[in-house]
């Protein structure tokens, strides 16, 4: 950046120079001057509609929105003049007038951006007339994943921009105008009847309690309290690098063993790890990929579809069901690790500990809201029971830990129970975008060549990172005799995160611009670590820290490859026989349905 591109201005009398094109808000941030915002979010395009961030510019009569106004040479800005203070206070008062102020009854109490600005401004008297419509009819709670309460909505449209721009879904958008303006769905249908993928990105981007996950905390407490029930809990890879944020730790802190200790104290009968079924997924999905490759390369079977796409992300699965149903044969038939776990908890595990599966309650802790929908899919009853009974988000787990009076930072570190409690580093990295690909390559490459993947420390760097679309080409050579058909094949892979990127990738594939053998798609930005069930707030900086934590967890483990997981080897020996066996198909694989595009 040369000096000519720098703009000099002053904010509250302090000189600052920033790059041309930056906004007043960004310049203020550089000076560590905080300007309150509501409709602004670093992940999103600028809307400039809440007007909370207005500031005074010398020589301009009206106030300007600092989030939407680019800096100019010589600009003099005041962020705390009388005019600004009065207006800001008015705007918050206006928002409170149309906001259902049930703070003590609200899930976001203590995490609400409107509440915290109102508290900062000390708005103690509310003179304006209450505009909240009939409170009883404002909640859409029919979706198994997401609750939408219009009476708490401040119309900032962060959810709308998230759903359209980050996720390319468009399940929610603005309807009506003026006093009737609201965030709505196609024909105002409930969220469970529209194109919503349940990804929950709207929730993590909502500043208030207008969009929250459907909570199952009370049901889980009920089950724990029931002496007849054996309650098992599984924890997804990304939870261990997010949970700490809700409990006083800095973003990027690994809290795996404390989390295990806390779950035990909450009263779960057995604390197990989704990483185990992540490893199992690699065995099944890796074998499925190799089988597909053989079908395409050796047998020339026209029914084999490539690329094969991952199926661990239920948001992505529902997205493809809605938007690209013609590509459903490309989806791996593997269930997600959560659902594999559920099916095994009520079969393999139940048999092992000799408990009637009807009395086993399987709970999962997920960074995800779409997992709640996934657990409720009608196909997910392979064990003869509902495979996963209750899905809690990372945030809900934090709620339980707080309710139980556990001082999280004082807990001793504990290990997972067994069986189904051992996971490899390959399982852990499922929590980051690119992780499934990396885990699959670590295993598949070794199966085919008998050698480790040719990357230092097994770290396959090209598939890592927050970029929208990553591509990798792995040359397979000097293969073992069984895999001669793969000799010299360049395995072409692509990885995306966020459904808008998935949309772009699918379009490129559909146009024939790109050809791949294997694609990994995660619905949320950054993968599961940026999931809709993870703590507030989130932006790329926080996602990067969680990602770093995931990879450092992987490096810290002795076990780094799925196929070396002793419990995985054991389950194939004792129960499943081999990947893609009849039993595997019955319990670990699933099917998909075409859905309407709106």
């Amino acid at each position: 950046m040369t000096m000519e591109n720098m703009i000099n201005l002053s904010i509250n009398g302090i000189a600052v120079s920033v790059e041309e094109g930056k906004t007043i808000l960004e310049a203020a941030e550089k000076l560590h001057i905080k300007i309150p915002t509501l409709c602004y979010h670093k992940d999103l395009c600028v809307a400039g509609n809440c007007r909370v961030c207005v500031v005074e510019q010398a020589g301009v009569e009206r106030l300007v929105a600092s989030c939407a106004t680019p800096v100019n040479e010589g600009m003099e800005i005041n962020t705390n003049s009388l005019k600004v203070r009065n207006s800001r206070k008015h705007i918050i008062e206006l928002l409170l007038a149309e906001h259902n102020e049930e703070c003590t009854k609200c899930y976001r109490n203590g995490h609400c951006e409107l509440q915290s600005i109102a508290a900062e401004l000390q708005i103690t008297n509310q003179d304006f007339i209450d505009l909240v419509p009939d409170k009883n009819y404002s909640v859409d709670s029919l979706s198994p994943s997401i609750e939408k309460d219009d009476s708490k909505c401040i119309r900032c449209q962060r959810c709308v921009r998230t759903c359209a721009d980050i996720q390319s879904v468009g399940a929610i958008s603005v309807a009506h105008k003026g006093a009737d303006m609201k965030i709505s769905t196609f024909f105002n249908r409930p969220l469970n009847e529209v194109v919503c993928t349940n990804c929950g990105q709207c929730i993590v981007h909502c500043p208030t309690g207008a969009l929250v996950e459907k909570s199952y905390v009370e049901q889980v407490w009920d089950m724990i309290a029931d002496p007849e029930k054996h309650v098992v809990v599984q924890t997804a890879p990304a939870v261990r690098v997010g949970l700490g944020e809700e409990l006083g730790f800095a973003p990027g802190t690994r809290v795996t063993s404390r989390m295990v200790a806390a779950l035990r104290r909450l009263g779960f009968d057995s604390v197990l790890d989704t990483d185990f079924t992540a490893d199992l997924t690699i065995m099944e999905e890796g074998t499925e990929l190799l089988t597909r490759l053989k079908g395409a390369l050796v047998d020339d079977n026209p029914n084999v579809t490539l690329p094969m796409a991952t199926s661990c992300s239920p948001g992505w699965v529902k997205y493809i069901e809605h938007k690209y149903p013609q590509y459903l044969p490309n989806l791996s038939t593997c269930k997600s690790p959560q659902q594999m776990f559920g099916a095994l908890a009520k079969t393999y595990y139940a048999k092992n500990i000799d408990v009637d599966p009807a009395n086993i309650v399987s709970v999962s802790i997920m960074p995800c809201t779409a997992k709640k929908f996934e657990a409720n899919r009608p196909e997910m009853k392979a064990s003869g029971h509902k495979d996963v009974d209750f899905v809690l988000t990372t945030r809900e787990l934090a709620v339980m830990i707080k309710q139980a009076g556990i001082e999280f930072d004082q807990l001793n570190e504990e290990n997972y129970d067994s069986i189904m409690g051992i996971g490899s580093g390959a399982g852990v990295i499922f929590g980051a975008t690119g992780g499934v690909m990396e885990a699959a390559l670590r295993t598949a490459y070794e199966i085919v060549t008998g050698r480790e993947v040719p990357f230092a420390n097994l770290e396959i760097k090209p598939v890592r990172g927050l970029e929208g679309v990553k591509e990798a080409v792995v040359l397979i050579e000097n293969v073992l005799p069984d895999w001669e058909f793969l000799e010299g094949v360049e395995l072409r892979c692509a990885i995306t995160n966020g459904l808008e990127n998935a949309h772009q990738l699918m379009e490129a594939i559909d146009r024939g611009d790109r050809f791949y053998h294997f694609i990994e798609i995660m619905a949320c930005p950054g993968g599961c670590l940026g999931g809709g069930g993870q703590p507030f707030p989130v932006d790329d900086e926080i996602r990067q820290k969680r990602m770093d934590a995931i990879y450092s967890e992987d490096l810290s483990l002795a076990l780094r490859k799925s196929h070396e997981n002793p419990e995985v080897m054991q389950i194939y020996k004792d129960f499943l026989e081999k990947p893609l066996s009849h039993k595997s198909h019955e319990l670990l694989h699933t099917s998909y349905v075409k859905r309407q595009p709106y």
Partner: protein, 395 residues
């Protein structure tokens, strides 16, 4: 501060029957762009939609952009309550409007133009299409690659705001954009765009025909030329009149009032209410500071006599605004509802009279912080009515 005022003069320029568009356009095309822009700048013509931005400058800024694709848009989304003059212009002299668009297109280098027509004016489409066909023939004869199409609005008031209008044309929800950037650099489809009111474009034709000097023989400093007014309310002679700019409200009332005029709303629901005691001190135009002295207008003049309740008038405006606000920005969406519910509560005695002062402060915030002109101008009618007819709000 005293400003020069004009006697009330009825003018006949806009609606004058003239059938020489081709010749006038040819004359303008033969001149250099610079010359034509200078003519426009020198005329002092300001936007006749109500905001009063200098038209020549708008054309100049757009012409200076190096973008290849540019657009000319005629804003015919005449939605301000009490305004009905653009409809008449499009009915009687559409060729002048089209000629104005062609002049602009030639100068800025636009190949496409659109008339954004208010949804309620759908009945005008067949005759406009006919006129556009004739116009395209003239374009072919004059060798200018410029076509005009009609885009139908769907009835939202906010789509008359230029950036909301672009959004609407792009198939999106009609919501105003952040400014900057302005349309001259980033308008329809993010391309440099000149967007002018119907009347402004018709005046451009007049200026090209008679010259800037002639145009400036009418009007006063900063408010040159004539303007078409939509006169309604308590008047024996409602209708559309072209008047010289710079007249005082008193002169206007003397001519158009019914002898019992209590107040005049200048500029529609988003404009100012002038009470009787200010008639002589207020004039119509775009001079300097806007409030109180010189009143800009898109042409709406609503006359109220002493039988009218100003409470009812305000109630009616606010009801309109709380429905027609696009709803995106807080001060306008919630502010309009608060103002409406607030005056009702005061009238019913549910809130004390001093609550009106809280609402007046709120209108200051709306003026200072709303995202677009609508939200900023709601305060105009509210404060001018409440300040001048406070007792009618209470009793």
């Amino acid at each position: 501060m005293t400003t020069k005022t004009k006697q009330l003069n009825r003018i006949d320029l806009i609606f004058k029957h003239e059938d020489d568009c081709k010749e006038i356009l040819k004359k303008s095309f033969d001149r250099s762009s610079e010359e034509v822009i200078n003519e426009m700048v020198n005329s002092g013509l300001k936007g006749r939609g109500g905001a009063g931005f200098p038209t020549g400058l708008k054309w100049k800024l757009t012409a200076e952009s190096e973008e290849k694709t540019k657009y000319v848009i005629c804003n015919a989304d005449e939605g301000e309550p009490g305004t009905f003059k653009d409809r008449e212009i499009l009915t009687r002299v559409p060729h002048k409007v089209l000629a104005g668009m062609a002049m602009c297109a030639k100068i800025i280098g636009a190949k496409e133009g659109y008339i954004y027509l208010r949804g309620e004016y759908k009945y005008l489409v067949p005759q406009l299409r006919e006129e556009i066909e004739k116009f395209h023939q003239i374009m072919a004869e004059l060798n200018l690659d410029f076509v005009v199409d009609i885009f139908m609005g769907s009835g939202a008031y906010i789509c008359g705001e230029e950036s909301a209008l672009f959004e609407s044309m792009e198939g999106k929800r009609g919501e105003p954009r952040n400014k900057p950037p302005y349309p001259t650099e980033c308008g329809y489809l993010d391309k440099p765009t000149v967007i002018n009111n119907v009347e402004t474009l018709a005046h451009s034709y007049t200026i090209m025909k008679y010259g800037a000097k002639k145009f400036r023989e009418l009007g006063v400093k900063d408010s040159w030329g004539s303007k078409v007014f939509s006169v309604s309310g308590d008047t024996p002679i409602p209708g559309i009149y072209e008047l010289e700019l710079g007249m005082s409200v008193q002169d206007f009332v003397d001519d158009f009032g019914d002898g019992d005029t209590k107040a005049v709303q200048v500029g529609g629901a988003s404009g100012f209410l002038v009470p009787r005691k200010r008639f002589a001190k207020s004039n119509i135009g775009y001079q300097g500071k806007l409030r109180g002295v010189s009143l800009p207008t898109g042409g709406s003049m609503m006359i109220f006599n002493s039988s009218r309740s100003m409470y009812n008038v305000l109630d009616n405006y606010l009801d309109f605004f709380q429905e027609e606000s696009c709803g995106q920005c807080t001060p306008c969406r919630v502010g309009c509802q608060q103002l409406l519910k607030g005056i009702k509560a005061v009238k019913r005695g549910e809130k004390p009279a001093v609550y009106l002062d809280k609402l007046l402060k709120l209108t200051d915030t709306m003026r200072l912080t709303a995202k677009c002109g609508l939200g900023q101008s709601v305060a105009n009618s509210f404060s001018s009515i409440v300040e001048n007819f406070r007792e009618e709000m209470i009793y």
